[in-house]
Subunit: 422 residues, 2 copies
């Protein structure tokens, strides 16, 4: 992509109506567009980041043997009444509307009920278990307040996965595999060092549910970290009872702010009984399946990554999820500079390296400022002087200083930098 | 994928509550799941077909230089009032709901208004034009009747593209390129021979809009085809005035039923004026942009493909969009057969050929019937007899007879068959 062709231009200043840093930066850089409070569209660069995160998540879900599907936004009232989750007094984030014939419908804020109901058709015997399905789905939630940018919105992309097991043991085995897969994901998107598997208040039939919490001042949660024992508790369960149960001492924990980036949840058989998801076991007995639910908000995760990495100059993307790994910033528009820039651009494109070429006729200072604001991991500067010396100047977004390399070494160096970063 | 792991099983009979062939077949084969009238979820095989169609469409849109983005489902009332398309008396497919503070919101059934409004921020000068953006988006439409399976639903995946041009000439140039790209798409998904660029009743500032119509008895439209002159008119414009204008004779046309698979539309400057999308031209004059809109319903297109190709035995997918190109049907479960089947499965998987292995312990007749119902383009039969003869039996879904090949030739033959088919 040439930057002169990209319609989403950067702004000179922050939007005045946003308080969250992630929304301020993403709007200034042209990654997202605000439609109304808590409702954001994704512009080409923003969509590319989302797609990259999505690919990482998809790969891990596929490795678990989970099968991808796509459920609908439209939800049936009768179904959610079975589990007592239709009433606005009980679930306060429903958007609801009506079909022409007056039938009330809801818009999916979660899909446990719908997926459970659908799976009834396909689960009959223990031979059909365990099974797991997942989707990337646009959730709609009528949030009262939405002031955290893309961390909490009224419409967002979520990966939700559901597991159906014969027994608690079979469920536990899958649950633990998911926990590992989630940690892999957070590592791959660059948050590995500061994302913790966290005890939260329980599900049905289990003492605890689990969250994945990333340490950041932008977080809405408070967690307590015991580094030595590698145990992390969220505020709800940081009390004497739980600490006694885990045989741990309050004073060994430090308190930090964190943002939830994923959660995994055991429903036991409670919801299966309500929805009627039964199977015939080896002895021929009819039994309810054990249900698990596993979520990652893809757009929320993108927002946390922004909050976690960004600096005074703008966005900072890890190589793995950056919309482009490299930005070519040409200095001046002499024929030599244009020719060399085009050559590098073509060379990297041919090698399928995601590159954006800032071919605009603007001052070098503006190009550098935009390269920083956009957060592209590696900047390559092409100037007459560098060409004369047969050198390229490269600078990583996360580093203060640049270095000079031989032009031919560029692809190899990009490969090395983007591999090392994960 | 091994068929024993796929949770979405085939049914023995058609669902009793569907009148459209596409829904009957897709449900019987486990490709889709009905949530309520006109609302279908996509199971793994169905989602794979959708993803394959989507990739073909994406490639053509990217080749046009159009930039992919993702708008929201939630729509602002004030915006649609500007173009007089909020009122239910005027647009009768809105789903509407309310935010907590009582603000009315709609769910996107189209995105011209929202995208036009968003682009105002990025279009200032003639230097920003022409520009085009597109998305794959889940449209919600409150249809009164929805009895055509996935041809007309209350929720569906659509590719919608929008173009913004300086002049009618600039617009026309892009419009014509889109028409060609659309024909490429319909060719690639296998409908090329029977899909026509069709004159339909006009847009603002233009005599006609254009539709792409595929000849099929399942279609809701009637078109008139002049094969010799390669001119096709839909019913609305098949009248003496238009025929005179085009200097064509009524008697040279044949009447056929067809399904609309795409449409392209010129808005002129009418909508830009309503929404306030202006740019400064070379002379410094403020002018409204010329707007175009280009749609393909991805799930609808999948439904048309089902109607067009399916036969008495079930679905029939072209190689390009099939969920799997090959199905391995093993006969019996002797160690030799299992070993050979696993070997072929691994070999094709390693070569990144999409293959499904029917490893179930069921009769050959059931395996063959399911292979046909699922519509997988190529069936490979592994049996003790074939192994003894060092042969593989292959049969294309569209052919009546099978043939025998050397096992080593299989990847080459798959490659050849899937290339020839487009």
């Amino acid at each position: 992509m040439k930057l002169s062709n990209l319609y989403s231009k950067t702004r000179k200043s922050f939007p005045s109506d946003e308080v969250a840093l992630n929304a301020q930066l993403l709007i200034k850089a042209g990654y997202i567009h605000k439609e109304m409070a808590g409702v954001y569209s994704f512009m080409p660069l923003g969509l590319k980041v989302m797609d990259n995160i999505r690919s990482i998540v998809k790969e891990e879900m596929d490795n678990l043997g989970s099968q991808e599907l796509a459920m609908t936004s439209l939800q049936e009232k009768e179904l959610w009444e079975k589990t007592n989750r239709w009433d606005d007094e009980i679930v306060d984030v429903w958007f609801k509307s009506e079909l022409k014939n007056g039938t009330e419908v809801g818009f999916g804020w979660s899909h446990e009920e719908q997926i459970g109901n659908m799976m009834k058709e396909y689960i009959n015997s223990y031979r059909d278990l365990p099974v797991s399905v997942y989707q990337f789905q646009n959730k709609l939630r009528n949030e009262t307040r939405a002031k955290s940018g893309i961390l909490r919105t009224r419409e967002f992309l979520m990966k939700d996965m559901y597991s159906f097991s014969e027994t608690e043991e079979q469920h536990k085995e899958f649950y633990d595999k998911v926990a590992k897969a989630y940690l892999n994901i957070f590592k791959k998107v660059g948050l590995g060092d500061d994302t913790y598997f966290t005890f939260a208040s329980g599900g049905a039939f289990t003492e605890f549910s689990h969250e994945f919490q990333t340490v950041t001042d932008a977080g809405e949660d408070t967690i307590y970290v015991n580094k030595e024992k590698n145990v992390v508790l969220n505020q709800e369960v940081f009390n004497d009872d739980v600490l006694d149960l885990l045989k741990l001492d309050k004073k060994d924990f430090i308190k930090v702010k964190a943002a939830e980036v994923g959660n995994i949840f055991s429903f036991g058989t409670a919801k299966s009984e309500e929805l009627g998801i039964y199977f015939t076991d080896k002895e021929g007995t009819n039994r309810p399946v054990v249900l698990g639910s596993y979520g990652i908000g893809i757009s929320r995760l993108m927002g946390v990554i922004v909050e976690y990495f960004s600096d005074a100059n703008g966005l900072v993307w890890p190589y793995n999820i950056a919309p482009y790994k490299v930005i070519i910033s040409s200095i001046g528009n002499s024929p030599e500079v244009v020719k060399e820039s085009e050559k590098i651009y073509k060379h990297l494109t041919d090698k399928k390296i995601a590159v954006i070429y800032d071919d605009r006729d603007v001052r070098p200072g503006e190009k550098f400022a935009d390269a920083d604001l956009l957060g592209i991991p590696l900047r390559v500067v092409v100037s007459e002087k560098n060409i004369a010396n047969n050198k390229l100047e490269i600078k990583e977004r996360i580093k203060q200083s640049s270095e000079f390399i031989k032009p031919d070494d560029l692809p190899k160096i990009i490969e090395k930098l983007s591999t090392n970063s994960t």
